[in-house]
């Protein structure tokens, strides 16, 4: 997180200007609300302007003074995080991860100290099987309204009839490219790899993440994004290794490379595509015609979380529809929560990056649970990186 690129950058497209103003209205009313309820605008303003002026003890409440939060890059609004700290006295340490496998590895080794983390749909049943996450007490998350959730995205939260997670956002995995450098942008994963090994050689980023990177290569070969078939994976590995000399980097934090102009094309999650496009209109996000991923992310609490009270409070805070609007403003991912959608400006619903046309959506797959632990996929990505 901490990459709300909007904070200091001029907003380019006029359409976004309008959206932005409306979001700000939301933010103003929230502050107003806080003022009325006594939490105090002054505290928030003072706190963000001069953090050292706020003694810890003066703010500390019953929630303790800390919370460790593991999530993904560019996925939170720093203003929300600061406001939560100012309201509750709970300081938040954010760790960013580039893949679900990395989160799993940490949790498997034990003693992470994490209080809240953000796993993707296909991992939750695995975490339950491995006894790594807690069943949630939904009465402690009053801002969570099951009836407002889109079941298509929220369902993986429930395993064997018990709720282990609450929906954060959903999105798609496609391609972002710089249309200044690549006049004829890719429309499929096949194009993606052809351009990488042709016109755009040396300027492509793929993720350090088995699901999306192997998935992209599988789709380019005409196979399923989720395949665990040894023969199909071998073909995908061949394509990846062949393209490796033409890559700029293998990293899941691709925004810096795209923004600096070093990279021209990357595997991309749609909200990041929106963030890039908002600041640099030449950045185009597209879904691939030969497949891709649709996903939803969740908030979970690990089994041995040391600060459970703060964890519930933080999740509850982030699910407040007004807070979610601020989050959206920063990261650009849709929520799957009708209460939030109602607060967003009408044009948002027409945004193709957020809500792709049904024709393209139909080709997308949700990640499959078995890809998380599949030994061949794990070894294919590792061999590709060390090739």
């Amino acid at each position: 997180m901490s990459k709300s690129y909007k904070d200091n950058m001029p907003i380019t497209a006029k359409k976004f200007m309008e959206e932005f103003r409306r979001y700000e209205k939301g933010s103003v009313s929230r502050r107003h609300f806080m003022g009325v309820t006594g939490l105090g605008t002054a505290a928030a303003v003072l706190g963000s302007a001069m953090p050292s002026m706020m003694p810890k003890s003066a703010k500390a409440g019953s929630l303790g003074d800390r919370l460790i939060f593991s999530t993904w890059p560019n996925y939170h609004n720093p203003v929300n995080v600061e406001n939560f700290t100012n309201d509750t006295g709970v300081n938040i340490q954010i760790n960013a991860f580039g893949s679900n496998e990395e989160m799993l590895a940490k949790l498997q080794a034990g003693a992470t100290g994490w209080d809240v983390f953000v796993p993707t749909n296909y991992t939750i049943s695995n975490y339950v099987d491995l006894d790594l996450i807690q069943e949630l007490d939904l009465s402690r998350i009053p801002n969570h309204d099951p009836s407002s959730q889109n079941p298509m995205f929220a369902d993986p939260a429930t395993v064997n009839g018990k709720v282990y997670a609450v929906l954060k956002n959903w999105g798609t995995t496609g391609i972002v490219y710089n249309s200044k450098n690549l006049k004829n942008g890719p429309t499929s994963w096949k194009d993606f790899f052809d351009l990488t090994m042709g016109e755009g050689s040396g300027h492509t980023i793929v993720h350090d993440y088995q699901l999306t990177t192997i998935g992209a290569a599988l789709c380019a070969n005409g196979h399923s994004f989720n395949s665990v078939d040894a023969g199909e994976l071998e073909m995908a590995e061949k394509l990846l290794i062949e393209s490796k000399p033409h890559l700029f980097a293998i990293t899941s934090d691709y925004q810096p490379g795209m923004r600096s102009g070093d990279a021209w094309m990357s595997i991309c999650w749609n909200g990041d595509g929106l963030q890039l496009n908002k600041d640099l209109p030449e950045m185009k996000y597209t879904l691939a015609s030969d497949g891709g991923e649709i996903w939803s992310d969740f908030y979970c609490i690990p089994k041995d979380a040391p600060h459970v009270d703060a964890a519930y409070a933080f999740i509850n805070y982030l699910l407040d529809p007004k807070v979610q609007v601020l989050e959206f403003e920063s990261h650009g991912y849709a929520t799957g929560d009708t209460r939030v959608e109602a607060l967003l400006p009408a044009e948002t619903a027409d945004n193709e990056i957020l809500f792709p046309a049904a024709k393209l959506m139909n080709g997308l797959e949700f990640g499959a649970a078995n890809t998380l632990t599949d030994p061949i996929r794990a070894e294919v990505i590792a061999r590709f990186k060390s090739a």
Partner: protein
């Protein structure tokens, strides 16, 4: 020659200059200079995680350096008189623990400790009376300190042993001839002579432990050392806060160095 040296110094200092310069950046991004401000120093100093990771690093480095200096010096003194297969064994172990990369120390310690905990924890749980929460062993301070000490202890042994080898034997013999007790000989003759090596070992150990990332990354469990904090900051998109931390640590080391130099000079002059 002089030009060449200037070029090398520029090479060494341009990145440092950039780190310091960007620590005064008022923008949100480390690489995008927006104007002068000390805001990030305020943020770094009031961020409890930064201060906590700094304290964690200092505790670990101090503990590892102290342990290594004591055990390493003791071992060097003992080994100096030892010959035969035991000596060869110890030499081999010292040599291996210096040669194996930190990354391997980190991984072997992780694998061994996690395995050991899996065996020990259920036994502990069985032994504990009903209703009382049994203690649970896990990765933490002790595992990092122990892993760092493995390497730094061997470093101290090598340094102190080299110093013993270069020591004036005649003094010790003279002392023994004059019926000084072995303890007195050690305290009055040997220790002053090997003291510089112990100090050097302590400082090297401290520096190594304080800057180590890879071993701590594997065995620190929920504890965050300063390098681990910096690593995760870089991964989540670096802000000038990290530059501010780097500058503070640098300034702090410089002040220590100047103070030490000043004290040494003052003592020499008094002599």
């Amino acid at each position: 020659m002089r030009l060449y040296s200037i070029a090398v110094y520029l090479f060494l200092y341009i990145p440092i200059g950039i780190i310091v310069l960007f620590s005064f950046n008022s923008g949100r991004h480390a690489s995008d200079f927006q104007g002068l401000s000390t805001m990030w120093y305020g943020k770094a100093l009031s961020n409890p995680f930064v201060m906590e990771s700094l304290v964690t690093s200092l505790i670990i480095a101090f503990a590892a350096a102290t342990l290594s200096s004591l055990t390493g010096t003791a071992a060097a003194l003992a080994l100096q008189r030892m010959r035969g297969p035991m000596r060869v064994l110890f030499d081999g172990l010292i040599y291996i623990s210096i040669t194996i990369p930190g990354i391997v120390i980190g991984i072997t310690t992780l694998v061994a400790l996690v395995t050991a905990f899996d065996i020990v924890n259920p036994i502990l749980a069985d032994m504990w009376p009903e209703g009382v929460k049994p203690p649970k062993l896990s990765l933490g301070y002790a595992s990092v300190i122990a892993a760092h000490t493995l390497f730094t202890m061997s470093l101290v042994i090598v340094l102190v042993r080299a110093r013993i080898a270069g020591m004036d034997r005649a003094l010790i013999e003279a002392s023994t001839d004059l019926y000084a007790t072995p303890w007195r000989t050690f305290y009055q003759i040997t220790l002053p002579q090997i003291f510089p090596a112990i100090m050097a070992g302590f400082l090297l150990s401290f520096t190594f432990s304080f800057d180590d990332f890879i071993i701590s990354f594997f065995v620190a469990g929920p504890n965050t050392t300063l390098p681990i904090y910096v690593f995760s900051s870089i991964r989540r998109g670096i802000t000038p806060e990290v530059n501010a931390i780097g500058t503070i640590v640098l300034a702090f080391s410089l002040i220590l160095l100047v103070t030490a130099q000043f004290l040494l000079r003052a003592r020499n002059e008094r002599k």
